[in-house]
């Protein structure tokens, strides 16, 4: 079992996203996160998909994705050097002595406090998924009010690219 980050370019058309998500449920493929938005070319969307599976299942996933009529191109980022980032918005209880402590932790993780109330912060943080997981873990469980994550998006390092 290995974690793969699949990056794909697809036609920015109604139904394209459904085709991808329906494929995963119809064929029983696991999907950990999915993140999608139009690119600089408005006719194209870029999707980043994270899945953990065996090599043979991964082969099927990429073949089946390629087979979808709306999918233009596809790349497995985990095949080479790449950068992955995820953004998290996390609302935490911040009272009394914990106000300072949480601020300090956020700084260590290079998070930004973007909303403050008498007893809470909203912290914005980007990084790879592991870093975000780690931050959530260092906050005492009963202080975490709400976690919103975008799912991974990624890009290959160097000149390698996924473009038309």
């Amino acid at each position: 079992m290995k974690r793969h980050i699949i990056s794909l370019l697809m036609e920015n058309e109604a139904g394209a996203l459904s085709n991808v998500s329906a494929l995963f449920s119809a064929r029983g493929f696991n999907i950990e996160s999915l993140c999608v938005a139009p690119t600089d070319d408005a006719s194209l969307s870029r999707m980043t998909l994270v899945t953990t599976c065996s090599e043979s299942v991964f082969e099927q996933i990429s073949k089946q994705l390629n087979k979808l009529i709306d999918v233009v191109k596809l790349m497995d980022l985990t095949e080479g050097d790449h950068i992955e980032r995820e953004m998290m918005l996390i609302k935490v209880r911040a009272e009394k002595e914990m106000r300072e402590e949480i601020k300090r932790l956020a700084e260590i993780f290079r998070g930004k406090i973007i909303d403050v109330s008498d007893n809470s912060y909203v912290i914005e943080m980007t990084g790879d998924s592991g870093k975000l997981d780690a931050f959530v873990h260092v906050i005492p469980e009963d202080h975490v009010i709400e976690v919103v994550r975008t799912g991974v998006s990624g890009i290959a390092r160097g000149v390698k690219s996924l473009t038309l």
Partner: protein, 575 residues
């Protein structure tokens, strides 16, 4: 040329060269039906149930290679069509299904006869479109036909909201002939390096076998398959879907493989050292238990769909490309080279195969009293000279037809293999007969299957389709009964088909000819009469042995070498 959306639909059909469509009207397609009414080029066959329309279009496509076209209304029209869409999808049949949809402004409001047609059909079609603007309609039609017919073919659904076909809105029309899609470009040519590797592997083989499938039929590659097989002198077995692509009377043909395949074919698969899979998809009915599948073989797989390759069985030399292109390249390489296949190896391989063949796995106990289904199919073959378009329903009769009607040509055996859809046979035969008005067309069926689309007898009357229906009436859902006999200790739970109609009278009430046959000695004359009545639909209600089982058989969880044989073959009984 300025056309309305409704006229664009019809004009696009003409521009695609479509001569016949199958459909059923309703509110959301009335504008299109009005446009159809005002022209004569595209012929419309009115069915009696939308499932019938899809199977008819499917039969049309399977027997011609041209895409089948369906037109149905929104809501129940579309849902009734789903079974036929799924049937075509699993067997890779090119089809374009036009469905009406509620007006754009009402989509999502639970409007009258609204269903999410693209949502329902997405998992069982090659692609779906929802037309959003009349300006997109012509291009969408072109894309639908292009996608349906290229690469690995399949059904494409085009969902058209009623306002898009508004007759009062006319726009300039030009059919986009040279369509290019950046996201879709199927490969045809195989990789030459891979092909050379495959040829090398074949040269070194001692016990090679060709396993050919529906892809050969789909690609009209029968000629290339025959050339290659003869050139190599190797044995060939075919899936249910590939029957006819290689002539069944040829010595190199081992018959069908798989669950109800021939003993010699399955044994040869089991002992082969090189397997050449051509346009076949390693279906579980073919492989048996995967762990026991071709344990000694290196596998070459030629398929146009990369996702077919190494899906169920991992292969050694994948070749992505069309059957015809790849086989022709292979042949050229073989003919230009000076290598020859290992002839000594091949000779002893054939000796082994002939010994398996000698067992006569299709032997059955003949009877003077009761008609055996195997005998019925053999008689059908005799009466039609082996030259027949034969559609089938699903069940024992389908397997007997596959085993005993020796198909010599492709596109003659029309059956639902992947989905196994009961009800397919009769409407599919309508499509075949529409495409081949002067050719004999028959449908082999069971008393359970035929009732699933029996209403289409009215369509046959209206359109004068002289189909011959061969009902193998055993009073049981024979295939189900067989499994209950073998695996449920004879507990025949709901597999007895009670309260059957009198099929002869039923047929007559639809205005056709119905006849009943009960004695083996009357069968040939009855079949002969049926085919002699060239302009009439004849329904033969053939009462067959209710207890006959299909053999040989690989039971679930077993391998190719563990076939159960018929009592007659075990005893070396009469053939």
């Amino acid at each position: 040329m300025e056309l309305s959306g409704a006229e664009i639909v019809v004009q696009a059909l003409k521009d695609e060269g479509v001569e016949t469509i199958f459909g059923y009207p309703g509110g959301s397609v009335l504008h299109i039906y009005d446009a159809l009414f005002q022209q004569d080029d595209v012929k419309h066959v009115l069915v009696r149930h939308e499932q019938g329309a899809t199977h008819a279009a499917d039969g049309y496509a399977r027997s011609t290679g041209k895409p089948g076209v369906v037109l149905v209304t929104s809501g129940p029209g579309a849902t009734n069509a789903i079974t036929g869409i799924a049937t075509a999808h699993l067997d890779s049949i090119p089809m374009v299904v036009l469905t009406g949809q509620v007006p754009s402004a009402l989509i999502g409001t639970d409007a009258f006869q609204e269903v999410d047609t693209t949502g329902i059909s997405r998992p069982c079609s090659k692609h779906t479109f929802l037309v959003k603007r009349v300006e997109d309609l012509a291009e969408t039609m072109r894309k639908a036909f292009y996608i349906a017919t290229t690469g690995r073919p399949g059904p494409v659904v085009v969902d058209i909201p009623k306002d898009i076909t508004d007759p009062s809105v006319k726009i300039p029309y030009e059919y986009p002939r040279n369509l290019k899609m950046r996201s879709y470009s199927p490969v045809k040519k195989g990789h030459l390096g891979q092909i050379k590797k495959a040829v090398e592997l074949i040269y070194n083989a001692k016990r090679p076998i060709i396993y050919s499938g529906g892809g050969v039929v789909i690609d009209n590659a029968s000629g290339s398959l025959i050339d290659l097989t003869r050139e190599l002198g190797v044995p060939l077995t075919s899936t249910l879907m590939g029957l006819g692509a290689y002539p069944a009377s040829d010595r190199q043909f081992l018959g069908m493989l798989g669950m109800h395949g021939n003993y010699e074919a399955n044994m040869a698969m089991h002992e082969a050292d090189v397997l050449i899979a051509i346009g076949a998809r390693f279906d579980d009915r073919v492989t048996g238990h995967i762990a026991h599948f071709c344990p000694q073989a290196k596998i070459i797989h030629i398929d146009i769909d990369p996702s077919s390759i190494s899906k169920n069985v991992s292969v050694d030399i994948p070749i992505v490309g069309s059957v015809k292109d790849v086989l022709n390249d292979m042949l050229r390489i073989i003919r230009e080279g000076d290598r020859k296949i290992d002839n000594d190896g091949l000779t002893s391989w054939w000796e082994r195969i002939e010994a398996w063949r000698g067992l006569g796995c299709l032997r059955y106990e003949q009877s003077d009293e009761v008609i055996k289904p195997q005998f019925a199919v053999e008689t059908l073959h005799k009466v039609t000279g082996g030259d027949l378009y034969l559609t089938s329903d699903v069940g024992q009769h389908q397997m007997f037809a596959a085993q005993f009607y020796k198909f010599e040509k492709p596109r003659r055996w029309i059956n639902s293999g992947g989905l196994g859809t009961m009800g397919f046979g009769l409407p599919a035969a309508m499509g075949v007969q529409m495409a081949h008005p002067d050719k004999p067309v028959a449908c082999i069926t069971g008393e359970a299957s035929i009732l699933m689309c029996i209403q289409e007898l009215a369509t046959c009357k209206q359109h004068g389709l002289p189909i011959k229906i061969m009902l193998m009436n055993n009073g049981y859902m024979g295939m189900v009964r067989q499994w209950q006999e073998m695996f449920y200790e004879g507990r025949y739970s709901h597999s007895y088909v009670d309260a059957l109609p009198d099929f002869v009278e039923l047929t007559k009430s639809f205005g056709h000819v119905g006849m009943r046959v009960t004695k083996p000695s009357d069968l040939e004359a009855a079949m002969q009469e049926a085919f002699d009545r060239k302009d009439e639909l004849v329904f033969l209600d053939i009462l067959i042995d209710p207890t006959e089982n299909v053999y040989p058989m690989i039971e679930a969880g077993k391998g190719h070498h563990e076939m159960a044989m018929s009592p007659a073959s075990k005893q070396g009984g009469q053939r």
